[in-house]
Amino acid sequence: MGITAMYAAATGMKAMDTKLNVVANNLANVGTVGFKRSRTNFEDLMYQTLREPGVKDINDEPNPYGILVGLGAAVSGTQLDFRVGSAEQTDKPLDVMIQGEGFFQVTTYYNGEEIRAYTRAGNFFRNANGQLVLGNTDGSVLEPRITLGEDDREIEIDAAGRVSAIQGAGPDRTDIGQIELARFINPEGLKSIGQNLYVETDASGPPITGNPMENGMGSLQNRMLELSNVEPVRELVDLIFTQRGFELNSQSIQGADEMLRVVANLRR
């Protein structure tokens, strides 16, 4: 059973290690536009029954309580936290922030396949073809596609997602396209694939798409960006606690090891 203690402590260390990784990633993304922090969820593992409840004791009465020893802890999952990050006024005409629920939809490549991905980052650019693309490494193309002409000037994106510009001499504005958003029954079930992108999973459910300000979607704010929702203070407290938890569990292992040493030296 000294061995049970060792393995239980090892599961604790492994769980703390995972949490440390998650916290480190959160902190690394403190300046990533549209980043959502993750939380590590723990649960206790199964219990080993040394004696079943109900076994009769010496007075022939069934013992109501058994003897159970837990086998440690495990990470039950990491959970995305979709609280809105703080806003930054950037004054760039192609920066958009979603106020409320919803994700921008983009096309990206994942495992060699072209797929639909979702993002909260609204730092858009124009690519060589004039299309609106996300400012990530791949330049994922915004869907439905919006193509800006060469002489489009003074581009505006309104709260409802209509993209307009002044073409030629002006001064009238022409509608160029419409930004659509997607939302999910369970956004926490989305899978992060890097580059500020999420993809749908069975847990998130299928996307529900629509225009901003309709159907429960948030509204758009032009010339603003949603910053990371990581709070450094909270993460640092988590970091300290996790580090100490890791150390405490290593003490359990040392204790169990000491016991084994005592056993090994019993007979001299």
């Binding site: 999952g77 429960g216 938890g245 003490q251």
Partner: protein, 252 residues
Amino acid sequence: MVYGIYQSAAGMIVNQYRQAVLANNLANLDTVGFKHDLTIVRERKVETAEDALSGRLSDRILDRMTGGSLVAPTVTSFRQGEIQVTGRETDVAIEGNGFFAVSDGAKTRYTRDGRFSINNEGLLVTAGGRPVLDDRGKTISVPETARGRIRIGEDGTVRSGDEAFARIGLVDFADRSRLCKVGANMFEAVGTRAEAVSPRLRTNSLESSTVDPTKAMVAMIEVSRAYEINANLVSMADTTLSRAVNDIGRIQ
């Protein structure tokens, strides 16, 4: 002589068990809603008493002593864990007594872990994905229009806007020691009935684990030393036996 060696060995086994329980407690230092187990040891009766032969002492001297120590049945401490504010709307902590009822397959199990979310079918579920039950024992389905914007009140009502559409059920047990841990932050009730209690919840918060690292570490040091002492006593008994066998009994 041989009697003493078994008592010391029993002492070692009991302390191994205590170490295992402490290790599990420490491993769950950061598990939401975790309740720590106590390491309780009980006195073992002498063999004649355990065999229900009392009254007929087999050894006048030895039978007046105890038979060493045994592991007592697992006792879980159900004291309130600290409430930590997380700011997440569907995080719920229970203040005072009570458990959330969750549906785990065909069984109903109980938990203090209130990290709720909405799954792809629109049900309110725990972090382990098990549906949370309402005050009538039914699963809680969140209406399509309310998804993403639900709020949970201190009395357990689940609202979207001003409209309450469900109430989270909270139960308690007359004999809480009959709750068995089954892992995944859940308890199973063995031979005790759940009674509904009125919820006192703290929203945007979670109840942290009740494990006190200081107490656990001190207990671990104590266990370690008790183990060593018992092991030394086994060695001493061994030495004495060796004297008896090799020195006193030597034929010259």
